[in-house]
């Protein structure tokens, strides 16, 4: 595998790690997957087919809302939930920057020991 390809693979692994760390729960992960696919959804839509109660779904959505990963929109008497990728992107960007800084630092270490 080329250096760039392995870097890309490593970046992808990191991205998954970040997403999982931010969510840390299988139910929330599936809620995010459902919302990330497109339109804002209601709790009723999100709980369709799920084995857990609407109350439990609501609780999970509130956790995601606190993390800024979903936002709640009022539509008449209903609440709709919308996905927001920004917090995840921000964390990814941060890790990418730290990672790039290590590349630079380690390149200097390499020149020193191989010189």
């Amino acid at each position: 595998m080329s250096r760039l390809a392995s870097e890309a693979a490593a970046a992808k692994r990191r991205q998954h790690a970040v997403v999982c760390a931010a969510l840390g729960d299988e139910t929330r992960l599936s809620l995010v997957a459902a919302l990330a696919a497109g339109e804002p959804r209601s709790i009723v839509e999100l709980s369709g087919g799920a084995k857990i109660t609407r109350q439990a779904i609501t609780k999970h959505l509130r956790v995601l809302e606190q993390a800024g990963i979903v936002h709640c929109l009022r539509a008449g008497r209903h609440s709709l939930f919308r996905f927001d990728p920004a917090p995840m992107h921000e964390l990814e960007d941060y890790l990418r920057r730290v990672s790039e800084q290590w590349d630079e630092v380690l390149a200097r270490l390499k020149s020193l020991v191989e010189g």
Partner: protein
């Protein structure tokens, strides 16, 4: 699943040479770009003035964790601690580990940095703000250089 950075680097140098470059505070300072004031001792803080151009006004600090000769060197620190007015000491530091393995051609260095999930959100925002076009461009140049070499 872990929330960490991992780098693997093949070095054409004996393990003993790499170990010295990592743990001799003067050698470490030469590639890490920091003027470290005293030898590394596990459990103790290491510090010095950053020598990287543009960041010379900043202090560098880390707490040395493990020094297992020619195998493992580790420290904890606060990455991107770039605001001299900000007190980072109450934040959970990240853990940096350098692991060495002898190979047929020299040494395999595996670097990991972990614990980013514990950084407060405001600090991640800081890290984004400190970035500018010039810095990004420079990173790319170095990456191209390393990839070509």
């Amino acid at each position: 699943m872990q929330n960490e950075i991992e780098k693997r680097l093949e070095l054409k140098a004996p393990v003993a040479r790499v170990w010295r470059a990592l743990t001799d505070h003067r050698e470490f300072g030469s590639w890490f770009r920091v003027n470290i004031e005293s030898p590394f001792v596990p459990g103790q803080m290491a510090q010095g003035q950053i020598t990287y151009p543009g960041y010379e006004h900043l202090r560098w600090q880390a707490v040395i964790q493990k020094m297992e000769p020619e195998r493992l060197f580790s420290f904890t620190w606060h990455p991107y601690a770039v605001d001299p007015k900000h007190d980072y000491s109450h934040e959970t530091p990240t853990l940096v580990q350098f692991r060495l393995e002898e190979t047929a051609t020299g040494t395999l260095l595996v670097l990991t940095e972990s614990g980013f999930d514990k950084l407060p959100d405001e600090r991640r925002a800081d890290a984004l703000r400190m970035n500018d076009g010039g810095w990004t461009e420079q990173m790319k140049n170095i990456e191209r250089h390393v990839a070509a070499g």
